[in-house]
């Protein structure tokens, strides 16, 4: 079966557009197994061979967007972000096809990074595709409920969820990086007021998928609150942001040597100072890094590991200053 755009008569295409629920970017890479899985869903398919045209076709009836490679992560990332930024963006399932997804860990990572729903290689059998499609469509089923819910809360949550995908914690809360715990609490409470599951109980009552999404949003919000009001977690989060791996608090994505250094600390104050030092090192401010390590050592004078790290930082700082003098 081949449903490429150029092979369809214009009339046929228009008719399909009227019930467009699935938009496919197909440059000849989509295997027939995908089409047979999609065929089972009885969607109106709108194939297109240009990425821009494809994204322009998305409207509020769209439930699924299929993008087939070969793209790099950048192109995929831009496309996903564009979709998620649309008014009903978070109710659309995104299905990415690329050879690189044969590596399953990479596929899982891309899925969370890009907020895509399915990342599968072209070689995936159609049964697997069908199952993934069914699950992801169920998860994103919210769209069909936009008609019978008041648009206010849906849109509020819509925007919040979207921002959670592409902004850091401070931007999501709309507060500055220097806000103190009280300021963060205040912003959290203001958002909790509209995003708390209790606020949406009535219209989400009989819709488990919607309930799940609302609770997902709130869980994220409360994670943000927890991380930013806890000094150590907050400092660690700054490191996560700086190392560029994630917009979320995920200490596991920090480099191994940083995690080791964090684990070596024996006291909370010592840890705090070490976190400040790592932060300074990432900024290339070795003087500040040195001072912070000394502070940590003053708190934990008997920590041998810490002593070694402090010496190393000291050495770099010295060399760094020398290099500065020579140039």
């Amino acid at each position: 079966m081949n449903l490429k755009g150029q092979n369809l008569g214009q009339m046929q295409l228009n008719r399909m557009k009227a019930s467009a629920r699935c938009i496919i970017f197909d440059n000849g890479n989509i295997p027939s197994s995908t089409y047979s899985a999609l065929g089972e869903l009885n969607f109106g398919l709108v194939p297109s061979d240009r990425l821009d045209t494809c994204l322009e076709q998305i409207d509020q009836t769209t439930r699924l967007v299929v993008l087939a490679g070969p793209f790099d992560a950048q192109v995929y990332g831009d496309a996903c972000r564009r979709i998620r930024c649309m008014k009903f963006g978070w109710s659309i399932s995104i299905y990415l096809i690329s050879k690189e997804f044969e590596d399953r860990t990479l596929s899982a990572r891309r899925r969370t990074q890009l907020d895509a729903d399915i990342c599968l290689p072209p070689s995936a059998p159609s049964a697997v595709i069908s199952e993934h499609l069914a699950q992801s469509l169920e998860r994103r089923r919210l769209l069909s409920h936009h008609e019978d819910i008041p648009t206010g809360p849906a849109l509020t949550l819509d925007r919040l969820w979207d921002r959670m995908q592409r902004q850091d914690y401070y931007d999501i809360l709309e507060c500055s990086r220097s806000s103190d715990a009280a300021g963060i609490r205040q912003r959290f409470q203001a958002i909790a007021h509209i995003a708390h599951p209790d606020r949406h109980r009535k219209w989400a009552e009989n819709n488990p998928a919607l309930k799940r999404r609302i609770s997902e949003i709130y869980l994220r919000l409360s994670e943000i609150h927890k991380v930013l009001t806890h000094p150590i977690k907050r400092a660690t989060y700054h490191l996560c942001l700086k190392s560029g791996g994630s917009l979320r608090y995920e200490p596991s994505c920090l480099a191994t040597h940083i995690r080791q250094e964090i684990d070596e600390c024996e006291t909370q104050q010592g840890l705090n100072a070490v976190l400040q030092s790592i932060d300074a090192r990432m900024d290339g401010d070795w003087g500040r890094a040195c001072a912070a390590m000394e502070e940590a050592l003053a708190i934990e004078p008997n920590n041998g590991w810490l002593q070694m790290r402090a010496d190393a930082v000291q050495t770099v700082h010295r060399l760094n200053t020398q290099c500065g003098e020579w140039s």
């Binding site: 399953r104 699950q135 909790a192 409360s222």
Partner: protein, 527 residues
């Protein structure tokens, strides 16, 4: 009366229960036929097979103690072998037996009843009172539980509500409900402590109240400390006095003890108003020669206070913990609010005032305040805030989980997933993997409590991941999310990391009842 179906608020207490409802923005505390707003949490099973619930059951305690059930809140959701249940069994005149697993049952006239069934009977009585008062059927309720209740205790309380024919919209914590009743609609901006000393439990909760947002900072409790302990102390004193007067012990006379319990409660209440109480009980027991023996006993407020001082002092250990967890001192608090019948005692009020360094507030009725808060929460949940388009006006509770949730690790250590005093809803995640080739099941034991070793915590149950993909060991990685919802109850979701598909789970509750037992309870409740 407004068109929306009302949501009632029920305070299901150890000793007394209370039901309220919000009608057109005003809170009504619902009285019974004789005008009483408090109902005794007593279920009396009469010889003719009928069941009497509430205040009318009170008299039965003395007539037929073995067939009159009270204080079920002390047993609900607990394992039969736990120290608390064993202690309770020694103190209670009716028979508590063990089910097939760890679930306790009450045996009355050869018939066994699960604990939620009996609690359900009390709830049904409250529901009937509300229906009679409102003149319409009531289906939905908010029920309160002590803040320190764990997952199983909450689940069982919700089950009791279901057996009473109620849809339980929310299980909320008693101190939080009290804060709501105290602060809602009064535009309070303060940091307050709720000192909730009830019949069988003690809880203290520290909250920040900012307009309509009630944010709990920390909570701590002792679910085995209450007014009952004070009664117990008084009963012991009276039994000792009896032994001294007649040289005859009452230890093996449950009927006499039950009567003394009633007398002790009365004496305690009398001593809140007067400085001296004189107790005189006739025909308490019969002597060796068949003569009837009575008890004469005198007590003044000061010596009564001295006898119970240590019990009240124990509550401050719990307060210390709550303050420490909140990283606050007593000086940081703006008000202390007293909740629960036991706080009527002048001794408690004085000692609380000393501890917190400010005069505690008791302008709200300590017996009704919890139920009032439940009804306010019920009204807030029933409303559709966005249709009305004024979400800012409704009360919002941000509560915390009272106990840490975790799993067994390295045999006896408790691996923390969710720390206590984390705001709910919240979740903790962990990845589990298979340890043998082709393994299709993984079982995870989940514990809740305050200790660092599992032996010090309560086993909630086992989460079973079943129907796993067949693969070499270590290849199946399941990401399990343990969530605590706004009811303080646990939910489990699992996903296969590799395929991203949802993984089936089952929870086997340790002190819970089997599906057949629950079906049986429902069938019996429907009769």
């Amino acid at each position: 009366m407004s068109g929306t179906e009302p949501v009632i608020g029920i305070d299901l207490g150890t000793t007394n229960s209370c039901v309220t409802v919000v009608v057109d923005g005003a809170v009504h505390v619902i009285p019974d036929e004789s005008g009483q707003t408090l109902q005794a949490s007593i279920v009396a099973f009469l010889a003719d097979g009928s069941v009497v619930v509430g205040n009318q059951g009170r008299a039965e305690i003395m007539v037929d103690p073995v067939n009159t059930v009270y204080s079920t809140k002390r047993l609900i959701g607990r394992a039969f072998d736990s120290g608390q249940v064993q202690d309770a069994i020694r103190a209670l005149p009716y028979a508590v037996v063990r089910g097939s697993e760890q679930q306790p049952f009450i045996e009355i006239r050869g018939e066994t009843y699960a604990i939620p069934e009996v609690s359900g009977m009390v709830l049904r009585r409250m529901k009937d009172l509300a229906e009679h008062y409102l003149g319409r059927s009531v289906q939905r309720a908010v029920i309160t539980v002590p803040a320190n209740f764990n997952d199983t205790q909450r689940q069982m309380t919700a089950l009791a509500g279901e057996l009473a024919g109620l849809k339980v919209l929310r299980v909320i914590n008693e101190p939080t409900a009290a804060a709501l009743a105290y602060g809602y609609g009064h535009d309070v901006n303060a940091r307050i402590a709720i000192y909730d000393f009830g019949g069988g439990t003690f809880d203290v909760t520290i909250l920040d109240v900012r307009g309509h947002i009630f944010e709990v900072i920390s909570t701590a409790g002792d679910s085995y400390l209450g007014g009952d302990d004070i009664d117990e102390r008084l009963i012991r004193s009276m039994m000792l006095a009896f032994e001294q007067q007649h040289g005859h012990s009452l230890n093996n006379n449950p009927q006499a003890v039950a009567r003394l319990k009633h007398v002790a409660e009365k004496t305690k209440i009398e001593l809140t108003q007067t400085d001296r109480a004189v107790v005189s009980v006739q025909d308490l027991a019969s002597g060796a020669d068949g003569t009837s023996l009575g008890l004469k006993f005198q007590l003044d407020r000061d010596s009564f206070g001295q006898r119970c001082q240590d019990i009240v002092q124990r509550t401050f250990l719990v307060c210390d913990e709550a303050l420490r967890n909140a990283r606050l001192t007593a000086d940081d608090l703006d008000h202390v609010i007293l909740v629960g019948g036991s706080t009527r005692m002048p001794l408690v009020r004085d000692m609380v005032g000393q501890y917190f360094g400010s005069k505690p507030l008791h302008d709200v009725n300590p017996d009704e305040v919890v139920a009032v808060g439940a009804a306010i929460q019920g009204a807030a949940l029933a409303e559709d805030h966005f249709v009305e388009n004024r979400p800012q006006e409704a009360a919002l509770l941000l509560d915390v989980t009272p106990q840490s949730l975790g799993i067994a690790s390295g045999g006896e250590y408790f691996e923390l997933l969710i720390e206590k005093n984390t705001q709910v809803p919240c979740e903790g995640r962990r990845v589990f993997t298979t340890s043998t080739d082709g393994q299709t099941e993984v079982r995870i034991k989940v514990y809740q409590g305050h200790s660092e070793v599992i032996a010090g915590n309560v086993l909630l149950g086992e989460v079973e991941l079943f129907g796993l993909r067949s693969a070499p060991r270590g290849h199946v990685q399941i990401d399990v999310a343990f969530e605590i919802d706004t009811n303080g109850m646990m939910l489990v979701r699992a996903t296969d990391r590799e395929t991203g598909l949802e993984q089936a789970t089952r929870i086997l509750v340790s002190a819970g009842y089997t599906r057949e037992e629950i079906a049986h309870m429902k069938a019996r409740a429907a009769q």
